[in-house]
Symmetry: C2
Subunit: 162 residues, 2 copies
């Protein structure tokens, strides 16, 4: 660990209707219907082969407007401070975000997607297929979020992380 | 896009029973019962507050032994070449991996987890809580993986990506 570090680079950009964090859906579950585009750097277009067979994708992106790491944050769905790793807040040691979105179409280097919960201009780091056998689990406990999930649909961000 | 790049750094290390890619479960679904530890750099321990309430975590990590990017790969569950972004293979433009694991315990800076499908010594980049309302989706199509998912339990990697 220590001083080791790695380089990563944007492989494209995410275009969304959200210019500012304030008013943005807090998660894909709150972003029902929010459409946007994933514009992949053209040199990666060949890697999109076979992607159109998948209904959902995992987008990995860089929280380019995140504030610096804080160990405790007050999440949008709560009023008290929680450990950063027990939240999805952006001010992480490595500001890497993850959203599962619905894939509407693939044309050349451009994906149209739905249920986007990211800022316009967000740098794209990776696209993975969403596979229930890998990514879905039963008998899940959600800690402090228990009983708060019903508040997600339509929930919009305020300015606390902007 | 272009020449822009970001630094990321390991925030800990993942200890697993798998010293080599060959023989490792190909996904958490094939890693049923494989236990390991996530050892977080001690300076991040305060960020683990509230995490023990969650039954499952999303681990984000660096594929430190991945070969360089290839647009087409032949995945473990297939015999033909697929677009890289339609697979979970490691040789991605940004070699960032993601696994949903079961959280068994949190003690100080060490998490015991189950259903691990990563190599021993894998650099940890982030820990996120797994939240079904964010991360689970119904009516999912899985493209080329359709009909192949039943082959995942117990499926082990061969040496094609090592």
């Amino acid at each position: 660990m220590g001083k080791k570090r790695y380089f990563i680079h944007p492989i494209g950009v995410i275009r969304s209707p959200f210019q500012n964090l304030e008013g943005m859906p807090i998660q894909p579950g709150a972003a029902e219907g929010a459409r946007g585009s994933v514009i992949l750097d053209r040199k990666y277009t060949p890697g999109l082969k076979d992607l159109e067979g998948f209904s959902h994708l995992i987008l990995i992106y860089y929280f380019h407007r995140a504030k610096e790491y804080q160990p405790l944050v007050t999440p949008f769905l709560d009023e008290v401070q929680r450990g950063l790793f027990a939240t999805r807040a952006p001010q992480r040691p490595n500001p890497i975000g993850l959203s599962v979105v619905k894939l509407l179409s693939v044309e050349d280097n451009i994906l149209e997607v739905e249920n986007l919960d990211v800022l316009d201009g967000t740098p794209l780091l990776d696209i993975k297929p969403y596979v229930p056998d890998f990514d879905q689990h039963g008998q899940v406990r959600v800690g402090w979020l228990e009983g708060r999930q019903s508040n997600i649909p339509g929930k919009l961000a305020d300015d606390r992380f902007s």
